[in-house]
Symmetry: C2
Subunit: 163 residues, 2 copies
């Protein structure tokens, strides 16, 4: 499996993540921008994923809920897309509904590596270093890696010739 590189430098409120995918840039972009594909990979393995809204345009909102089938707990997330969404710049705010008004600002850039491969470069900015540290401490990396592994599988199905 490909490696996820996560950087969270002391004293600045950033999280920087890179991950390579064995699929062309336009396919990776579809998996990130089309809700019926996003719901197949985003988030930890153990939750059911429900996307209520995913309106990819400047000022468009999204909201999704991770549902824990064991406990019945639900975790809602929402935000707003900014700028003109494209593989060169996909900017959105991100808010966990368990901590309303605490917002981070996320940017994704998809780099064409040639040979049908793509690097996702993610830059997140938090309102404080403490909020950034809390996100890192929350175990986000596990959920991220589980999601990216499912994304690998999804991308493989999207790029395979139909038999």
């Amino acid at each position: 499996m490909a490696t996820t590189n996560t950087t969270a430098t002391d004293g600045v409120p950033f999280i920087d993540i890179t991950r390579e995918f064995d699929a062309p840039r336009e396919i990776v972009w579809r998996a990130w921008s089309e809700p019926e594909l996003v719901k197949q990979w985003l988030g930890p393995n153990r939750y059911e994923m429900v996307i209520e809204e995913y309106d990819v345009r400047d000022g468009g909102r999204y909201r999704y809920v991770h549902k824990d089938p064991d406990s019945g707990n639900e975790y809602g997330f929402h935000g707003v897309f900014h700028g003109t969404p494209s593989p060169d710049s996909f900017v959105q705010t991100f808010e966990f509904e368990g901590a309303p008004g605490h917002v981070s600002l996320e940017k994704l850039v998809l780099e064409d590596l040639g040979g049908g491969r793509t690097r996702a470069v993610m830059h997140s900015v938090y309102q404080s270093v403490e909020a950034r540290d809390a996100m890192v401490a929350s175990g986000m990396e596990t959920g991220l890696n589980e999601g990216f592994a499912r994304l690998d599988t999804l991308l493989e199905s999207l790029t395979s010739p139909v038999h």
Copy 2:
């Protein structure tokens, strides 16, 4: 005139601003959240201010344009309000349309100082230290101070007894 304290610490992407106003918190909040009042003070002195949209609710958009009457140049700004807007937490994104997709995240808290006085505490987060530095270098403080001086005058008119 009251002093505006601006802090932009080296190496972190924050701008922190505090300013005291000689008006009760609920009046200062009105001046910040009602577009017909906002248009009377926000921005540098020399521009005409046109507010096209100012929808103060979670996910609501705003857009305004500063028009330079001498050159005819127009400078557009827009963003989205986040969380439940209140004097305790007024969170919004901010984007200058001359640099699309470059977004900052702004938070305002209005503190009741007693005796009919209020302190505005503003915390801005940029996507990079370089973007923060460019904002500081743009002469934002002049525009800010001109706007706050007009806000002082507006607050005085809103708090004065009608003769």
